[in-house]
Amino acid sequence: MVNMAKAINMALHEEMERDERVVVLGEDVGKKGGVFLVTEGLYEKFGPERVIDTPLNEGGILGFALGMAMAGLKPVAEIQFVDFIWMGADELLNHISKLRYRSGGEYKAPMVVRTPVGSGVKSGLYHSQSPEAVFVHATGLVVVVPSTPYNAKGLLKAAIRCEDPVVFLEPKILYRAPREEVPEEDYVVEIGKARVAREGDDVTIVTYGAMVHRALEAAERTKASVEVVDLQTLNPMDLDTVLKSVSKTGRLIVVHDSPKTGGLGAEVAASVAEKAIDRLVAPVVRLAGPDLPQSPVAHDAVYAPTVERVLKAIEKVMAY
């Protein structure tokens, strides 16, 4: 039984063994093994040329990784907390995401940016952000959010093998628990495919990352039959799986641990409205974080939608 931090660590070990073009870089990823120990043991096994402790400069890390990717390596860059990524916003949003397009397809940026996201560990305004909507909106970035140790390993391996730059957002609240069996052997979880985490007939909950577990818990505690769709990849989004589920249940709740306005919930709700509004029997509910800086220490426990809020939303759509 392993947790998500270990599962990601396994993926890194295996991919670095498989392909010597894979290198890891970031702040404290070497001897220390990363602040969450996700890169533990890599430095000892692969050495400082492949497991690179960098200066404290996120633009530097991302730009350096972009150069490596252009030259044929497969860099996996770690940004210690996503909150620090804005120092490298130019590199990520202007250059990494647009290299392929602006070069007419001559250059590619096959790289992964791994970074922890999310509230729930009382970390204040600069260790709790979850700006996935920004990355989805940027055009040119594949955006992946794992929810379990099993899909974390398989999705990261797929991300490292992907031809496009992948932003791999790791919900930090899931690093230590839950644990599950993760196969030692090689497998990938396909990018661009959602997962039906639980089947049901009355309500569809579309969610991703840490909120998958809250949705599942709520589903266990309600009388309604709830289907939980774990998006896994936010861009490109697997709209077919979402539409299929909503067409069956007629009720949609979207849950995410990030500000509501302009968030992924809006995108899912709008897409369903465009393509399947005639199948809906109740208004869509967006359950998200409040539009606050994410997230104040004193109120961190109620920033992300709680199981109780999910249960109330289920009641509401069932009663409509």
Partner: protein, 375 residues
Amino acid sequence: MFYVLEINLEIPRQYTVEVREPRVFRVLNDDGSPGEAYEVGYKPTESDLLKAHRWMVLGRVLDNLAMIYHRMGKVRSTYGPHEGHEAADAGTALSLMPDDWIAPYYRNLTLLIARGVPLETIWAKFFAKVGDPDKGRNLTVEWGGFKQWRLLSVGAPIGHQYIYAAGFAYALKYRKRSEVVAAYIGDGGTSTNGFHAGLNFAGVYKVPVAFFIYNNQYAISTPVNRQTAVRRLAVKAAAYGVEGVAADGTDLLAVVKTAKWAVEKARRGEPVLVEYLMYRFGPHTTADDPLTRYRDPREVEEWRRRDPIGLLERFLVWSGIYKSGEVKSVWEEAEQAVKEAAKVAETQPDVPIEEAVKDVYSFVPRSLTEWLEEL
């Protein structure tokens, strides 16, 4: 109120940082005769000099015609001329091996010509027609996809080319290759995080990059003394533990000698920063008007004495490589070649709309297919 403490707060000199400002390396006098630095370092061959002169003239002619074609509406987007940069482009290009890489910035037209990019290809890009390696996606002087000529990709938000040049060079070193990356930036660019990160990472990992600054005195309208409080940009090298040099960028011989030194040093794993002093004779872009807004015409006249092409031509005549009539024929041939290439590029078709949705990803996403259907 402004208070001054009346007590002695002095820290003795041996504890404070001292930076020695280097002399600017120059070979050619205004009249084209070489000074004593002529004997220093690498000496380009006669054929190198003739080649460089042709590139520079082609660059100037193409630049001037692009400005005219922009006014006529043929050049599809804003154009940024590089007049005044020709010697720095030609001299640094001469110093590179064919396998070496270039991380350009946008005012590097002669560099592309030196690298062998066909004139038709450059015009196709300016006209945003088929034949443009960037498929009509970028502004005229954003060199996006010139990989065939070993030019890395640059977008308008400048600075980043320094940091990805360092990463690219790290990969070259990792793969045990002997190629070098030459990275270019303007004086304004030295204020960016990309400049800082690039030099910092390159210094830490000892990667093969020759960093070139084109100090052409202006970032659009902002003079270099508003960009930084240091007088010589080359002194910034000291902060990154790399060597720095300042040279006259209007003087092809000074450029070749310093660039050759820098490139070969980089090849040994010692990154170098070279500042080239020059002047941007034209506007920032076709959307800029320096003479009515921020520049004294006497300053432009003063710099004309160091026009890189005129200076080189005076040297070529002084040294007997050229008779004066031969200079004229180089210009005539360049005019003809540039105009003919424009005619060829003009007849190319426009980039079809189906091309627009490609290359965002390795796949075409659903929303883009739907957009094409909506049109």
